[in-house]
């Protein structure tokens, strides 16, 4: 079989796809930059744009602070903006990875109970940590909460995978149903924790269950960045594996990929991203399902593009949602989970309605 001279049709198709991707990513980056600027400028306390920029520039040059708005800009809005971008990117990325792992566009850490599991673990550390850990450790170290949320996310992902997988095949219907059951169980246990807790703990729990970036601080940014940033760097190495997994686990093995290692890495990354996000921002739902789906509509399902584009899209969505949460009812603040759910739930229904026989469980 001689390899005939080709017309370059495929090369052309791929070039066009790359050009389109470059354009979309450039637009998304511009949107992200615009939103980032807006989120520093807008808020409950009016800061004239010129002055805000001045504060930023001075801080950037390392000059001393003397402006009245330094605290607002540098210690509240700037960390909050960074946290929103990281949390959004982490949630959207974990959604995209989970959908690739389960080979289903409906899989999402929020829908299948992973988020709830992480929130339950975080809640348990808040309520039970005071009673059980504090006497031993003195004041609870900050790392306990993210660690708890991470372990909760990891445990629920593993449990879900174990329940839904029989003889190497993952049943999507079982996964969605088991996810609902796990989510409900985690919700009930969280409710029980609320029943046990005192007033201060109750406020903390409410914060977790609806999600908020209100507590953003440089401490949180510094705590989460070492988890979320390496994650973004690690994700591209999963892309080839997730592409092959789309054909099925056996097929991915036939294609020469180490399937078990890819699966283990994907589960670990999802648990890390979800755990870290829940630890600093509580439960922010629907980001993981809305963003990857939109990216697939625009750029196609190739994970080499999907993963970075989803991270970017997630950052945009959460940053925008947080901006709305801060400004819609200003000076009061809406929980960001309400905004993402208000966008995400109708979107999810629309997804179900337009779904043809080719997609889905």
């Amino acid at each position: 079989m001689s390899e005939p001279i080709t017309s370059g049709l495929i090369a052309t198709l791929e070039r066009e796809r790359k050009r389109r991707a470059g354009l979309v990513l450039a637009l998304a980056l511009a949107a992200l930059a615009g939103l980032a600027l807006a989120s520093v400028l807008r808020g409950a306390i009016a800061v004239p744009p010129g002055e805000a920029l001045d504060v930023l520039l001075r801080a950037f040059r390392g000059a001393g602070s003397d402006g009245r708005h330094d605290l607002v800009i540098l210690n509240i809005r700037l960390p909050r903006m960074l946290l929103a971008m990281m949390v959004g990117a982490g949630l959207a990325l974990s959604g995209a990875i989970m959908q690739g792992l389960f080979r289903n566009p409906l899989a999402d850490p929020g829908l299948v109970g992973v988020l709830a599991g992480a929130a339950l673990a975080a809640g348990a550390t808040i309520v039970l940590g005071d009673a059980l850990l504090a006497p031993a450790l003195g004041k609870l170290p900050f790392a306990v909460l993210p660690a708890g949320a991470f372990l909760g996310g990891l445990a629920s992902t593993l449990l879900l995978y174990a329940i839904a997988t029989r003889q190497g095949r993952t049943s999507i219907a079982t996964m969605l149903l088991a996810g609902i059951a796990l989510g409900a169980l985690a919700g009930a246990l969280s409710g029980f924790l609320a029943f046990l807790s005192d007033d201060r703990q109750l406020r903390d729990l409410a914060f977790w269950s609806l999600g908020s970036l209100g507590g953003a601080s440089w401490t949180k940014v510094v705590a989460v960045a070492p988890i979320l940033l390496p994650l973004m760097l690690a994700a591209p190495f999963l892309a080839r594996g997730l592409n092959a997994l789309a054909l099925g686990e056996a097929e991915a093995f036939h294609l020469g990929l180490k399937v078990q290692r890819i699966k283990a890495m994907a589960i670990l990354l999802v648990a890390l991203a979800v755990g870290a996000s829940v630890a600093v921002a509580g439960m922010i739902g629907f980001v993981g399902i809305v963003v990857p789906h939109l990216v697939r509509l625009v750029l196609g399902p190739d994970h080499r593009l999907l993963l970075p584009a989803s991270a970017l899209g997630g950052a945009i969505l959460v940053l925008a949602a947080d901006l709305l949460a801060r400004t819609l009812a200003s000076p009061a603040e809406l929980p960001i989970g309400i905004i993402t759910a208000a966008i995400g739930a109708p979107f999810f229904l629309w997804l179900l309605l337009r779904r043809d026989s080719g997609i889905g469980p």
């Binding site: 090369a11 789309a246 099925g248 020469g256 997609i359």
Partner: protein
């Protein structure tokens, strides 16, 4: 010389049920081996054992003398490609992206231009180049099968530089194809065997096509290999009625002109609509 893929006395059971029992099969370069047998005979399981996807409970599968578990998966992927039964996708991959997956797992990287040429050549050989930009999910079952065939062709072409001795495993590759493309796919497999020395193993239900393309015909029943040899030797009325439970006629006049030819008359297994085929 050791075979490209060889199963030695492999047995596979699941939940106490034996799916393949003490089966031995060697795939030699340039030869087409075709597995036939009724549903549940263990054909697909034997194929999956030989691909390395399943690990036998006893016995072992070797490739060029080495046990499969000792060979790195990427190297194995350069050496053998597998086309499983109907593969569905839940994401809207374009046809050319699905074919490109054939190269994803192979070790040594290739330039983007070379990859594109391999994808295009494979698509052309499977007669799917005209659909290269289509969404795989919107194709018919037969078209999807041709894309999957293009994918395994692509994998073999890409792996050839690393592993010159290759095997192609096809599990009911023509189940959804029209007659023209059935012949087209089997011809392509035959060309791979003749020109490139690829060892081909295919599971087929169409006995006449099996007879036409097989160098070695292997019949399975209840997890065991019950007959093997040239199509002429394997297909006789007794074996067919025993293995498949059909009353049939291997037409002698046709056999003289075209080789073995099977025209099923009616099913002899109780409760399976006996006589329903008599009118034919």
């Amino acid at each position: 010389m050791s075979a490209i893929l060889e199963a030695g006395e492999v047995t596979f059971r699941i939940g106490g049920k034996i799916l393949v029992e003490a089966a031995s099969l060697a795939l030699q370069p340039g030869r087409i081996t075709i597995l036939v047998g009724p549903n549940g005979a263990g054909k697909s399981t034997l194929l999956r054992l030989m691909s390395g996807e399943l690990v036998p409970g006893s016995g072992q599968v070797t490739s060029l003398g080495r046990p499969l578990p000792d060979i790195p998966v990427w190297q194995l992927a350069c050496r053998r490609a597998v086309m499983a039964q109907a593969a569905r996708l839940n994401f809207p991959f374009a046809v050319h992206e699905v074919v490109r997956l054939g190269i994803e797992g192979l070790g040594p990287a290739r330039s983007g231009g070379e990859r594109s040429r391999l994808v295009e050549t494979a698509l052309a050989q499977a007669d799917m180049l005209g659909h290269a930009a289509r969404d795989y999910q919107t194709l018919s079952g037969g078209e999807q099968q041709r894309v999957q065939f293009a994918r395994v062709l692509c994998q073999l072409m890409a792996g050839r530089h690393v592993e010159p001795q290759q095997a192609l495993l096809l599990d009911e590759p023509i189940a959804s194809l029209d007659l023209c493309h059935q012949l087209g796919l089997m011809d392509a497999a035959q060309n791979l065997a003749r020109d490139q020395g690829v060892a081909v193993l295919a599971v087929l239900h169409d006995l006449n096509l099996a007879a036409r393309y097989a160098d070695d015909l292997v019949a399975m029943q209840n997890g065991r290999i019950v007959a093997r040899g040239t199509p002429d030797a394997v297909f006789d009325d007794r074996l067919l009625s025993e293995v498949f439970g059909i009353e049939n006629r291997c037409d002698d006049q046709l056999r003289a002109r075209f080789g073995p030819f099977v025209l099923p008359q009616f099913c002899t297994i109780a409760g399976r609509g006996q006589g329903a085929g008599r009118a034919a």
